[in-house]
Amino acid sequence: MTFWKRFSSNRGAVIGLILLIAVILIALLAPVIYPGGPWKMVQRPFLVPFTTDGFPLGTDTLGRDVTAGLVHGARVSLLVGLVSTLMALLIGVPLGALAGFYGGYVDEGAMRFTEFFQTIPNFALAIVLVAILQPTLGSITLAIAIVSWPPVARLVRAEVMSLKRREFVEAAHLAGLSNMRILVSEVLPNAVSPIIVMASLMVATAILLESSLSFLGLGDPNIMSWGYMIGAARTVIRSAWWLSFFPGVAILITVLALNLIGEGLNDAFNPHLRKGRT
């Protein structure tokens, strides 16, 4: 069976993929759908959802369109999720690969460093980093990357450690290939699938982290995000439930989609490990 066939035989994964594509499309088309941006006050405040044409999800405390906020918020979520994950991979993959491949003191040092970052409560560290560096899109992305890389390093290290003892890697040594070449062309390509699976789940976690920071008021003040929308509506939850409800659903759907895709990828990469599904 081809990879795609295995992936698409998982119903959840296909649903996840469709949902994610929808969110990506919305994010890309946001300036087209709502060219006026999410900040403009367009109606009276506290407009209840499904009551006024053109404002299906109502308006917020300042009369801004909730739908416009959601559509534009998708951009931040996806962007931060993707970029911070890429940054985390850039830190974690080389570190874990070198630690696993060379072992000894390199490993010892790299793993102490990783352990240190893993011991620190990661959300608390993200809060501290963003608070100190001042909340901007860049600092938020950086902070999320800094707290997200340790699991990558550990995964890659474990994969590399097991792969480097495989006989084909030993054969490559005997063939006289250089260590770097063996690591890059023999070992790492065989570790790609678990990294991809982890990365898709990390994007989901990063989106949750970003929204949590924004919820606490640590979002970029110039950019509309789902977490900010919920945070701003927190105090009016009793009178205007929809202001917190819809952005939450948007986060839930996006994160769920990514998790489903991650699971689907995992199953598709490891057809022998599939269990409990018929």
């Binding site: 990661n122 959300f123 608390a124 993200a126 809060i127 560096l133 949750l208 939450g248 839930l252 409990g276």
Partner: protein, 325 residues
């Protein structure tokens, strides 16, 4: 290695880690935009240059860099986490004041999530492939994707605002004058919603892990041996599968301790729970860096302590650890 020497080793490592976090804190203060003295003073002192000057002298900020670092780390090690000018009290006192509430919340959430997660995971694994299994796994998937603070808000909306079953705000009824058992009951009622919402995400994590682990272990050879002995299904599940399946769950639970603390910041913010998480949130708005960093350090210390505890539990559960190498 004996248990005692393991604990000793872990304690040494814990102290080193804490020292490293103190150093990290120090660099963070200097990384913040503006004068470190102003950073330490927070908003409160920003207006008064004379006051800043006093601070500079007091924290040795006029000294060379390495001496500043030494002073800072030494202070932290002596539990002097600085002074919150915003709250008008030493940070350590503020934290000590708030810590019990956070411990109560996080430990309750931990117990709830772990016990429910394991129970549901076992149940799902036992019914693998059936409707009830799909239902449980789907629920877990949903909880796993739900933003913690949003779940908290929705819980307030439903159970407190709409249904009026439980209080959605605070630690106890203010001015009620309850004492003894009545007070405990009151606090318990206030605890339910925050602890449940904080535990929800982790319950999903543990459930998925338990289910996967149970299914994996049930394929192992020794389970076949147990069946060949003529043991009954429930005994095999409990004695052979579950015990082995719990090992990775314990490991994960240890690793998740840090996230529980992080989640407490969000939960305490929503429920106005007077713990260190809420303290951190309040300090964010006030740019009270001393307090923020203090809470950060203390929460890291809690996580380290918790990790040592899980290590000990793990050694008790698994005879191979400690004897092998």
């Amino acid at each position: 290695m004996s248990l005692i020497s393991t604990i000793l080793g872990r304690l040494v490592k814990a102290v080193i880690t804490l020292l490293a976090i103190a150093v990290l804190n120090f660099f963070l203060i200097h990384a913040a935009p503006g004068d470190p003295a102003a950073v330490l003073a927070g908003e409160a002192g920003a207006a008064d240059p004379l006051f800043i000057e006093q601070l500079r002298a007091r924290f040795g900020l006029d000294q060379p860099f390495h001496i500043q670092l030494w002073t800072y780390v030494k202070n932290v090690m002596m539990l002097d986490l600085g002074y919150s000018f915003r709250q008008g009290a030493p940070v350590i006192e503020l934290i000590a004041d708030r810590l019990p509430a956070t411990l109560l919340l996080t430990l309750s959430a931990f117990v709830i999530s772990l016990s429910l997660g394991i129970a549901l995971g076992v149940a799902a694994a036992a019914r693998v492939g059936r409707v009830s299994d799909s239902l449980l796994t789907t629920l877990a998937l949903l909880f796993y994707a739900t933003p913690l603070y949003w779940a908290a808000l929705m819980a307030v909306l439903v159970f407190s605002v709409q249904l009026g079953w439980l209080p959605g705000f605070g630690y106890e009824t203010v001015g009620s004058g309850y004492s003894g058992l009545a007070r405990a009951w009151d606090i318990l009622q206030h605890l339910i919603l925050p602890a449940m919402t904080l535990g929800l995400f982790f319950m999903a994590v543990y459930m998925r892990m338990t289910r996967a682990s149970m299914l994996e272990v049930s394929q192992m050879d020794f389970v076949k041996t147990a069946r060949a002995k003529g043991l009954s299904g429930p005994v095999i599940r409990r004695r052979h599968i579950l015990r082995n399946a719990l090992l990775p769950v314990v490991t994960l639970a240890g690793l998740q301790a840090g996230q529980l603390i992080g989640g407490a910041v969000l939960t305490e913010t929503v429920f106005a729970w007077p713990g260190i998480g809420r303290l951190m949130f309040e300090s964010l708005g006030a740019r009270d860096y001393n307090t923020i960093l203090g809470v950060f350090l203390v929460s890291a210390a809690m996580v380290i302590l918790f990790n040592i505890l899980t290590d000990i539990v793990y050694r008790i559960v698994d005879p191979r650890i400690g004897a092998k190498t």
